[in-house]
């Protein structure tokens, strides 16, 4: 069974016919070729697939594409503006907050959600808030530093 949906992704409206059972993450990756959003598990546990739906960080593996019909989605590809990195991207780079990079898009989207809700979050609070995003490479220390420095930078600008 398929259905026609319209989803605005990173500011561009896309209309497509999708299978009703298609996951949002596969719609982004395979239909729209936005492969920056990754899949790391099949139990909604790893956070690699985190995107923003109508401004809120969600797991795109636990939503059907049809459920996003009429919604606005922001993915990692929508972060940089005119070739300038978003502060969260810059902070991950400057704090060595990534190694293999696989968790990074989901981690940054989740972190952005945290910063938007709690711009003054402490290290402890950042750690608690990112509990649903696993990284196997970094041991998280530099990720926490990156999120704190991005929060500072975003508060300044």
């Amino acid at each position: 069974m398929s259905q026609t949906i319209t989803v605005t992704v990173n500011g561009t409206a896309h209309t497509a016919e999708v299978e009703q059972r298609q996951l949002l993450v596969h719609f982004l990756r395979e239909t729209l070729n936005l492969t920056g959003t990754h899949v790391g598990c099949d139990t909604s546990t790893c956070g690699c697939c985190t995107v923003h739906l109508n401004g809120e960080a969600i797991l795109s593996c636990s939503l059907l594409a049809v459920q996003a019909d009429g919604c606005a989605v922001r993915t990692v590809e929508g972060l940089q503006q005119d070739g300038v990195l978003h502060p969260i991207q810059q902070a991950f780079h400057e704090n060595h907050g990534l190694q293999c990079g696989f968790c990074t898009p989901g981690m940054m989207m989740a972190a952005l959600g945290v910063i938007e809700q709690h711009p003054d979050a402490s290290d402890e609070e950042v750690r608690e808030a990112l509990e649903g995003n696993l990284c196997r490479c970094t041991g998280y220390q530099n990720i926490v530093a990156a999120v704190r420095s991005a929060a500072d930078e975003m508060a300044r600008s």
Partner: protein, 783 residues
């Protein structure tokens, strides 16, 4: 924490921000699942749901009748010429049971691939997997290695008379006498539990077989592209020269991708059948059962000790669970344990016996540290047990036993290159305020909590490996590494490396080495890897080898280019090579800065070849195959301080201090990142992670819900420091750092927890130290 200012460009020793990062933070990384080839189909595997069973029949008719399903392949129809091969035969006579690409007559672990479905997309492929009906006749199962070696155990492979794969032994002549003479004996049993590597990117691959040319391209998430190519050619029965293996970005490996897997062969063979590219992406549940596991070794230690804590003789009897088959290096992993049993201690009389068993479980193989964490965890627990038994300070027992003179010939046949174990321990003791600990313990006690402190003083063997040694160890592969340095007419440089980074930042570190050694600015260097079509043979990334072997291969190629440039400069400047000096960026006539040629000018002159010295070929380019003369031996001290809440059993890490010595450092920021990640993987094993099988062979931890990978909320901040003892074995004085954290961490954390609970008479705790286990231990100890 020693922070070195981060910069955007630099040479050896600078914390240069990574040139890899931009594509990853913008979502432009290209992992294997991001690739699409024209006409590509999707594969999925029917996997055994039994730990041990005879395959009675496979009925694919319902699956084949589904629209969009192209083929269902089984052992009988998959066009391969042999099974999966192992490159590991330590000591000779290792039993290598046949491992067909798709199970032949028997399935021997849950998750073993039995059939492969090819369909239009991954959803259809997965539907079709469910429609394939396999009839199994269940057989008796054994999952525990000790039980597998007991008389009368069910046989995993009926062609052998037992489940023994191989016994490894190293017994010194004087051992019996030394043990008999020792006034005190200390024994300890340690189970180093089975864990799963769990890189955030699972495995995945695309096979693309051209039936017109016979060429096959495999895109795969691997650490060892050339090994994979060699094995594809053998298993699929085609010329190695027709096989191309491409490694796109790899989302973590930790040893899980240091292998050659059935699915890699299967996608190639399947592509040959359907005449179109075939992609397979492992899901997380498959990853838990079908990708190698690590550890699973049970150790029985006995130490003969003098009253002052000096170890006079050391015995280890261990049982290693190999799983159902030998993967690429399975029998060699516990051989690495054997090497490192004495750790950083001067113990010349040892008796080590490691029996490897087949069981009805997923094969074990290299997981970050690969055999060495087992050795380190065991010996570091034993040192604390000795201190406890003799009423000594664990620090002093270590000091009494440290190796102090280098090079040091170990009882297991290694030559430790350099070290200063006591100095590193003292730095760590200072940072951790070891002297002030008892006051902190008393404070916790007042709050009804148990506080403990624990050390791990580790040494590891890295820089795998001198090829003569790998041959002597029965590994059917060498240990050298390749590099090519190519200067372009415009003065830019391409570095081709045989290493296979998947998070380690080689593009950055290798560019730093090139800037320092050849004077090409960091930003003018491009590092490429990961395609066997243009690379000379490379051995890949594992065993903390990339810098100590691949980095030295690069260093030597840079030196060759620099020397060739010197001859060219002498020719152009009409002087002798002996009249020239290297400024770091140019060759100049000694004392005459106005008579000089920059490396960029020389690159152009070499390319135009308008005038070349006698016997010199055009172009500044050099290739090196570097075979290391020895391993390297990084070392250090990690100290962990914990507090345990007896009402919950939860262990809180209050302070984690690491002092590592990996020789000279190319990029301190990257080294710190490796240590952070390594420690947290060791911590994961110490506190949370365990791959559990039920007695019937079912896996109890098949997803990230049951298998607890630490999150940011579960782990402490770490305080990192370094000492620097260069390795004399290579010209950069480097050692390796990828595995150190994992090797060191688990023992420091368990020693701290045991120390905390020692007031209750608790002498040992097995991993993982989950709250329920700790709570129960405390309750039992109290009653």
């Amino acid at each position: 924490m020693a922070t070195v200012e981060r910069v955007t460009s630099g040479g050896i020793g600078d914390s240069v921000l990574r040139k890899e990062d931009r594509k990853f933070v913008t979502g432009e990384g290209r992992y294997v699942d991001d690739l699409k080839l024209p006409g590509m189909l999707h594969g999925a595997f029917v996997r055994s749901s039994f730990g041990h069973a005879r395959i009675v029949s496979i009925d694919a008719s319902a699956a084949l009748a589904m629209p969009g399903v192209h083929a269902v392949l089984t052992h009988a129809t998959l066009p391969v010429v042999t099974g999966v091969l192992s490159a590991s035969n330590p000591g000779g006579d290792v039993r290598h049971p046949e491992q067909a690409v798709l199970a032949k007559e028997f399935a021997r672990y849950v998750g073993e691939p039995v059939a492969m479905v090819i369909a239009d997309d991954r959803y259809l492929a997965s539907d079709a997997v469910n429609a394939v009906h396999v009839e199994y006749e269940p057989l008796p199962v054994v999952v525990d290695a000790e039980q597998a070696l007991a008389p009368g155990a069910p046989l995993v492979h009926a062609e052998y008379d037992s489940n023994l794969c191989k016994t490894l032994e190293s017994i010194t002549d004087g051992f019996d006498a030394a043990l008999a003479k020792a006034p005190r004996k200390v024994t300890l049993r340690v189970h180093n539990q089975r864990v799963t590597p769990m890189p955030m990117e699972t495995r995945g691959c695309i096979g693309d077989w051209s039936n017109s040319t016979g060429e096959v391209t495999l895109y795969t998430s691997t650490q060892v592209a050339h090994f994979v190519r060699t094995f594809i050619s053998i298993v699929c029965g085609t010329s190695e020269a027709k096989v191309r293996v491409v490694t796109p970005d790899v989302g973590g490996g930790f040893g899980a991708k240091l292998n050659t897997y059935r699915e890699e062969f299967a996608v190639c063979a399947a592509s040959k059948v359907v005449g179109r590219p075939v992609k397979w992406i492992e899901d997380r549940t498959e990853n838990a059962v079908a990708t190698i596991h690590g550890r699973d070794q049970t150790q029985y230690y006995e130490a003969g000790v003098a009253e002052n804590g000096r170890i006079l003789a050391l015995k280890l009897d261990a049982i290693q669970n190999n799983g159902a088959y030998n993967q690429l290096l399975t029998p060699s992993i516990s051989h690495l344990t054997l090497f490192m049993v004495p750790g950083c201690y001067d113990i010349q009389d040892v008796s080590i016996t490691i029996r490897q068993a087949f069981t009805n479980t997923t094969p074990t193989d290299a997981y970050r540290g690969a055999g060495r964490p087992e050795a380190t965890h065991g010996i570091e627990r034993l040192l604390d047990a000795i201190a406890d038994e003799l009423g000594l300070d664990p620090v002093e027992v270590r000091r009494t036993n440290f190796i102090t003179e280098f090079p040091y010939a170990s009882a297991t046949g290694l030559s430790y290159d350099s070290g200063d174990y006591a100095a590193t321990m003292d730095v760590a003791l200072g940072h951790a305020d070891y002297a002030g600990f008892e006051a902190r313990r008393a404070e916790s006690k007042q709050n009804g909590r148990y506080r403990g402190i624990g050390l791990s003083t580790y040494v590891e063997v890295c820089g795998l490996a001198p090829s003569a040694v790998t041959a002597a160890l029965g590994i059917g592969a060498p240990g050298w590494e390749h590099s090519t340095v190519r200067l372009h007419p415009t003065g830019k440089a391409t570095v081709i490396t045989g290493t296979s980074p998947h998070g380690q930042g080689h593009a950055t570190s290798w560019s730093q080495i090139a800037q320092t050694e050849l004077g090409i600015p960091f930003e003018d260097v491009e590092v490429i890897h990961g395609d066997t079509a243009f690379q000379p043979y490379g051995l890949g990334t594992y065993g903390s080898r990339s810098l100590a072997v691949g980095g030295i291969a690069l260093y030597r190629s840079l030196g060759k280019v620099r020397e060739k440039a010197r001859e060219l400069a002498a020719h152009l400047l009409e002087c002798s090579v002996d009249d020239l000096e290297w400024t770091g960026t140019s060759w100049q006539v000694k004392g005459s800065p106005d008579r000089a040629k920059t490396i960029q000018e020389l690159a152009y002159a070499g390319w135009t070849a308008a005038t070349l010295p006698e016997g010199i070929e055009p172009v500044l380019e050099a290739t090196t195959f570097h075979d290391p003369p020895n391993f390297t031996f990084p070392f250090g001290t990690h100290i962990c301080e914990v507090e345990i809440d007896p009402t919950t059993g939860r262990i809180e890490i209050l302070q984690y201090t690491a002092v590592d010595d990996c020789g000279n450092v190319i990029n301190p920021m990257i080294v710190d990142g490796q240590v952070h990640g390594g420690i947290i993987q060791g911590l994961g094993q110490a506190l949370f992670e365990e791959t559990v099988y039920a007695d019937d062979g079912q896996m109890r931890t098949p997803t990230l819900v049951e298998y607890l990978v630490p999150s940011a909320a579960d782990v402490p901040p770490m305080s990192l420091h370094r000492t620097t003892t260069p390795s004399p074995s290579n010209p950069l004085g480097v050692k390796g750092i990828g595995e150190a954290g994992t090797i060191a961490a688990s023992a420091a954390i368990v020693n701290a927890a045991v120390d905390a609970l020692s007031v209750l008479g608790i002498r040992h705790i097995e991993m993982p130290m989950q709250p329920a286990r700790i709570w129960k231990l405390i309750e039992e100890a109290k009653s």
